[in-house]
């Protein structure tokens, strides 16, 4: 009797029902795949049976041995692992120095053109990360590895050295540039919200500017910097496109490229081992992050009056510094787009003379393009339109599903705060963030490849792509949901409850309108990420549901440069347009979603 009563009162609260449903859904979509994958690391797969001389579907520890303690382990795992560590650390450093430095200039000095520069600064984050890689490739590639020379070599006649064109250096720089806006948003947010009185108090006590910086400002910002560092680090570890473009020409392998090779080749078992190791790494990074944040020194401070701290006067250096920053931003934000445009209208790659310009890759018919494998120009190409349609359809579906589930989960987590269930849901909803996209899709591939119980085989269907995208982007959406709900006091909803307003109406008339822009950001992030995603979909793709990014990858693999550059330009323009339209109409923006 008592238990029944308790269950009844538990289910009376809408947030408990949501928590329960989301919990079960997430268990099925994250924990079950995880278990499947662990099993896959000890399973003899069909393609491996012959080589291993074991019957298919029997169990073996051979994969683990090969990856960790065999003579070949060095090449299969350890080298790529070290390469991943090296490039990710480099990327983090670059992202933090550039992003954090820029944040300091914007919030603490009288630099010029702050508004326009900070919106320009977000560009590299909106663009697919490989956009920059491709731009780097366009600019610096040389003919040493074969193929046509890049813009710099062609214009100056100097062969760019290999270390500058390929391998760890450009991978770190490009990944770092891509995540610098992320660091800018995170650190800038902290600097902006940091109580200026804390610095003023030190100023009143005779501390010099420098001493205030290293005794007060930096120590207070450091936890945020560290968690930015860890997030960038784990994202960089799981990035696939950049090392593919910049590393493969010189056979520079990192974990993700190794993962793609093994999963797509004859050793899926080894691939799953690598994927599992990457997930373990991700989880430990998150645990470290939690530990840093949850320390004794609580950093939440009572916010004082919104007084502005005196901005550092750059004096004579004001204009020069502003110009330097503007030039750097131009190079990372605008120059890449120009290079795509340029590369897409060049007939013979590497020849930048004027009579080599052509628009046939945009407007040419199949007959006109006979020299380019009779591939019609992009704007006449049915492949482009069908994949554009698939991309948009996929991005919208994922955004709607992830955004809605994320909002509901965020709502329920905040309302049910302190309960164990809310804690579980919170962690489960964040879990997909830690799985490298490639490993994540590998799991889904193995889980949905065949019919299991009532769930039919989903491989090759559009639905599988939507499910994968939704779960993978759920962390973004649930984070913005949680942030939005934390800003909304509970009393606002309770005032509605007392007036007898039902749950659904409370949501649609009170909660959602008040936090509209935060919630829309929760939809915008998955949409943007999905439009530019490659590594998540590349394993799941079948020819009949190509999206723009996989089409780009296909052209790139074939070496049809003009087409891949053209598509790249299209993706960037579409994403930026949609972002600015949504921003203009609703006031929601990418930085609101992650900045909280």
């Amino acid at each position: 009797m008592e238990i029944r009563y308790r269950i009844q009162s538990f289910l009376k609260k809408p947030h408990n029902i949501i928590l329960l449903v989301v919990f079960m859904l997430l268990c099925y979509l994250t924990l079950v795949p995880m278990a499947t994958m662990i099993r896959d690391t000890v399973l003899v797969h069909v393609g491996e049976a012959k080589r291993l001389k074991l019957p298919a579907f029997s169990y073996t520890l051979e994969h683990w041995r090969k990856v960790l303690v065999d003579a070949t382990s060095l090449n299969i795992f350890y080298k790529p692992f070290l390469n991943s560590l090296l490039t990710s650390l480099g990327a983090c450093l670059i992202a933090l120095v550039l992003g954090g430095g820029f944040a300091w200039f914007v919030t603490r000095t009288n630099m010029r053109w702050k508004g326009i520069l900070s919106s320009l600064c977000i560009f590299p984050y909106i663009m697919p990360s490989w956009t920059l890689a491709l731009a780097w490739f366009n600019l610096f590639k040389n003919s040493l590895v074969g193929g046509s020379p890049g813009i710099i070599s062609a214009l100056t006649g100097i062969q760019t050295p290999n270390w500058l064109a390929y391998g760890p250096f450009p991978i770190a720089v490009v990944t770092g540039l891509h995540y610098a806006p992320f660091a800018y948003i995170m650190i800038g947010g902290i600097l902006r919200n940091m109580d200026a009185n804390l610095e003023e108090a030190a100023l009143m006590l005779n501390a010099s500017r420098f001493r205030i910086m290293y005794r007060i400002t930096i120590p207070i910002v450091i936890p945020a910097v560290l968690s930015t560092f860890l997030l960038v680090f784990s994202s960089a570890m799981s990035s696939f496109a950049v090392p593919t473009f910049l590393g493969l020409p010189v056979r520079y392998q990192v974990l993700t490229t190794q993962l793609y090779r093994t999963l797509n080749g004859l050793n899926p078992g080894q691939g799953y081992v690598i994927a599992l190791l990457m997930i373990i790494l991700g989880v430990s990074i998150l645990a470290l992050n939690q530990k840093i944040i949850g320390k004794r020194k609580n950093y939440t401070t009572v916010t004082g009056k919104s007084s502005n701290i005196a901005l550092v006067n750059l004096k004579k250096m004001r204009t020069p510094i502003s110009i330097i920053i503007a030039v750097i931003l131009f190079c990372v934000s605008v120059l890449p787009l120009l290079s795509f445009a340029l590369e897409s209208v060049i007939l013979h790659p590497g020849d930048y003379s004027f009579d080599n310009f052509t628009l046939q890759f945009w407007f040419g018919t199949a007959e006109q393009n006979s020299m380019a494998n009779s591939e019609p120009g992009l704007l006449l190409n049915p492949k482009l339109y069908s994949s554009l349609w698939h991309s948009v359809k996929l991005a919208i579906s994922c955004a709607v599903c992830a955004g809605t589930i994320g909002f509901l989960a965020g709502y329920a987590i905040v309302r049910g705060r302190g309960t164990r269930l809310a804690e579980y849901v919170n962690n489960l909803a964040f879990f997909p963030y830690l799985m490298p996209s490639m490993a994540f899709s590998a799991i889904y591939l193995s889980m949905f490849a065949v019919r299991r119980g009532p769930v039919p085989a989903l491989y090759g269907t559009f639905l599988l792509l939507v499910v994968t995208g939704t779960v993978k982007y759920l962390p973004f959406a649930s984070r913005s949901g949680i942030n939005a709900m934390f800003q909304l006091s509970k009393e606002i909803e309770e005032a509605g409850t007392i007036l007898g307003v039902g749950w659904f109406k409370r949501m649609t008339r009170l909660v959602i309108p008040i936090q509209k822009s935060s919630f829309i950001s929760g939809y915008l992030l998955p949409f943007t990420s999905c439009m530019r995603e490659l590594s998540l979909f590349i394993l799941l793709m079948t020819p009949n549901n190509q999206v723009l990014t996989t089409l780009l990858y296909y052209y790139n693999e074939k070496g049809w440069n003009q087409y891949s550059n053209g598509i790249n330009l299209l993706i960037v323009i579409i994403v930026i347009c949609i972002n600015s339209i949504v921003n203009k109409v609703t006031g929601a923006s990418i930085d609101k979603g992650i900045g909280g």
Binding site: D195, N197, L198, E200, A201, A202, L203, M204, L205, N206, A207, S208, R211, R215, I216, P219, I220, R296, K297, N298, Y299, T300, T301, V302, T303, G304, K305, S307, A310
Partner: protein, 373 residues
């Protein structure tokens, strides 16, 4: 010895003047409160004295040294003004322990380690927070954080201590306690205190002089009792005192030297000013009567209806209604009055204030209620 002079200070944010042509002298060793409603410019004034905000115009002199002057282009940095500043939200550094917070200012002055330890110990015991030395601010209650902030500010023994609503984040009981302590500190440290508050009771009880600001303009600068008994204008009269003063508009019916006959729709009074004043029949005036000067009687010359009665044990605040006029009255003793009952009223003493129609004080005097003709 520090004496602070503000000479024609203005601070403009765009077109809006937060502080408008403010001049005042703060004597050494005094306890000044800057009092006014929110947005009146009191915090801005305090921050300008500290050097955290730059005035648009004017001159600030501390201890004979010009620390700011717009015409001479002088702007001395906050650190060099020998000033302590206590922030409303305490601004304790969350990453430092209580000890480190207090020692920070002394380290900046390059004190020796053992001298610092000694001084911090002294402050810890003075403010009774010795046992919290190793804790972080987040592990302290509001009152404890407040004490740490005070200790940190006092550590360098500043000659001038500026405080920006330091008690507003505390609960009522703690606030009372801290008021006593601040007054004691003022005596012990012999520093000049400048204190920002919007709480008139705090200003009344703490300060040697009150500076009342409204919309960036200085309304009155006087001792607490001076402000209370002879407010220069109706704004001051209304802002200071709780329950608030009764301000009743009248028209002059007749005047004979200091004796005036005043009347409005609901009542008439005979007013006798202490000194002759300029008022001729037909002039509009406002009479200000503190609640404690209205007593209730059994005589039935003029009837007032009890609108509300708030007994607190020591005294009872009654709100009375005569026609359309509401009056506050304070009656001492444990009394309660039924709502709706009728009482007679009497005006006591010679501190009835008279203001002209613009709200400027004309003088004081005595008054008695007359039958309305």
């Amino acid at each position: 010895m520090p004496r602070i002079e503000l000479i024609h200070i203005s601070k403009k944010f765009g077109k809006f003047a937060a502080v408008d042509d403010l001049s005042m002298v703060i004597e050494d060793g005094s306890f000044i409160t800057l009092l006014g409603p929110s947005g009146c410019g009191k915090t801005t004034t305090l921050r300008m004295i500290a050097g955290l905000e730059t005035p648009s115009e004017g001159k600030i002199v501390i201890d004979g040294n010009t620390v700011f002057s717009s015409s001479e282009e002088i702007d001395i940095s906050p650190a060099k003004r020998d000033i302590g500043f206590l922030f409303q939200n305490y601004a304790l550094w969350p990453h430092m322990t209580v000890y480190q917070n207090i020692a920070f200012g002394l380290e900046n002055l390059k004190w020796e380690k053992d001298k610092i330890t000694l001084r911090v110990q002294e402050l810890l015991s003075m403010l009774r927070i010795t046992e919290f030395a190793g804790r972080y601010p987040a592990e302290l209650s509001g009152g404890q954080q407040q004490r740490v902030a005070i200790a940190r500010t006092l550590a360098t023994s500043p000659k001038i201590l500026l405080m920006d609503e330091p008690l507003s984040n505390l609960d009522a009981k703690l606030r009372m306690e801290m008021r006593t302590e601040l007054k004691r500190l003022h005596l012990e440290t012999k520093s000049t205190f400048i204190y920002v508050t919007h709480d008139q009771l705090e200003a009344m009880t703490l300060s040697t002089k009150i500076c009342l600001l409204d919309k960036g303009i200085l309304k009155q600068y006087d001792s607490p009792l001076g402000v209370y008994n002879m407010p220069g204008n109706t704004f001051t009269a209304d802002f200071v005192g709780n329950p608030s003063i009764n301000l009743i508009p009248f028209e002059v019916v007749s005047s004979e030297g200091p004796a005036l006959l005043l009347q409005n729709n609901d009542m008439a009074i005979a007013y006798s000013a202490a000194a002759p004043l300029q008022a001729k029949p037909g002039d509009k005036v406002v009479i200000g009567i503190r609640p404690e000067f209205i007593s209730v009687t059994d005589s039935h010359d003029i009837k007032a209806t009890v609108y509300s009665s708030l007994p607190s044990g020591m005294e009872t605040i009654i709100r009375l209604k005569i026609g359309e006029i509401f009056l506050n009255s304070v009656v001492f003793g444990s009394l309660d009055f039924p709502v709706g009952s009728e009482l007679g009223i009497d005006l006591k003493g010679n501190k009835m204030l008279i203001f002209d129609y613009k709200g400027t004080l004309l003088g004081a005097g005595s008054a008695c209620v007359k039958d309305k003709e």
